[in-house]
Symmetry: C2
Subunit: 222 residues, 2 copies
């Protein structure tokens, strides 16, 4: 039961690739395009360019690996989002950026639809797996909190009127989830652009700020 705790402490880690990380990445990719149910250890090994045996050398079981991969990938998304948002001064702009980043496939450079596909796999797994259920709740709370934080920021600096930031965040978060499902499924009636517009309008109405026609249409054509 050997374990590689971390790459820490040996200085030159440029040569030695971080297998742990690489395997998690490969796993997330495979899960994204084949689906959790169709993901085999050998697929992950192939994608990572190693032998199947090595996967089990680093992770004690397939189940563990999959769980870690899902949490890991969702973490990535969250980190990128909060890093990006933090550098924007205006709360309204922050919120608009958050929305853009949440619409599957809206921004070509980011939205590879990946995150949402993984997120749905998390839901399915959480339904019958206690640990995954706890993870999901934590991740989701963090997601709502980052929306609520933006709202509170805006309320403090006068951009938004007063109101229950947590309740508002719940509403906007849920709306995003619900719409994202349809967009990620390629529903012909719910395009990324329409989703963006709908979320933005409702957020504006609920929170209480103005959106110009130009801002509404900024995401794509029309």
């Amino acid at each position: 039961m050997r374990f590689k705790v971390d790459g820490r402490g040996m200085g030159a880690q440029r040569q030695k690739p971080d297998r742990h990380q690489e395997i998690l990445d490969a796993a997330a990719q495979v899960i994204t395009d084949r689906g959790l149910a169709e993901t085999r250890i050998s697929d992950i090994a192939e994608r990572a360019g190693v032998s199947p045996g090595l996967i089990l050398y680093y992770f004690e079981s397939k189940d563990r690996l999959l769980s870690e991969a899902l949490s890991f990938a969702n973490d990535q998304f969250y980190l990128r989002l909060s890093r990006e948002v933090r550098r924007i001064p205006s709360a309204k702009e922050q919120l608009m950026r958050l929305i853009d980043l949440s619409v599957p496939g809206l921004l070509p450079e980011y939205g590879r639809l990946d995150e949402w596909a993984l997120w749905i796999e998390v839901w399915t797994r959480a339904l019958h797996n206690e640990k995954m259920a706890r993870d999901r709740e934590t991740l989701d709370k963090r997601w709502r909190d980052s929306i609520a934080d933006i709202i509170r920021t805006g309320q403090k600096n006068g951009e938004f009127p007063e109101g229950d930031a947590d309740e508002l965040a719940l509403r906007i978060g849920a709306l995003i989830d619900g719409l994202a499902i349809q967009v990620v499924m390629n529903d012909s009636e719910v395009t990324p652009h329409r989703m963006r517009q709908t979320v933005l309008e409702m957020a504006a109405k609920e929170i209480g700020f103005e959106v110009s026609r130009q801002e509404l249409g900024a995401g794509a054509k029309s």
Copy 2:
């Protein structure tokens, strides 16, 4: 490749149980409590009280069976919902009933959380299965349409002000989806009661009707 087309045409079908139906029911139950990934043909057979071989006698493959079971179960929910709603005269009452039926676990006699769990499995499957993706879109459109129909009814008879019924239905439907996910996952911050209240408030605000304090709290305590 024998096939039992239907029980039609032999009069006494009380004795002969409808295996097709029974198996679909059993499958939906098993999927609900074990999850699609953990569902074996033998589990379904056991639940239905028949031998595993018989399952494959009625369905050409496990895959077909599972697909049919998912669509079938979601159909059931929709039928029950529209049957119930149709007998209510007021559009506002119709909408409130629809909301109550949609909140997982709110009504003890109905909401066994089942439908939502199955619905999430459909999403996962639709992500990588073309046929399932089409089915989902159809089912989802029907769901949005039934909300839109209620809104249009209310607009025609003067209960609700004018407005784009389809857009409103999209918003309310998405909100319900997003919140239901959290409720069905037992998120400690999103209770069935809170979901009911949130959806009702937003629907009232968006569509443009009044809800009394009493109506808001009708679902449960508080």
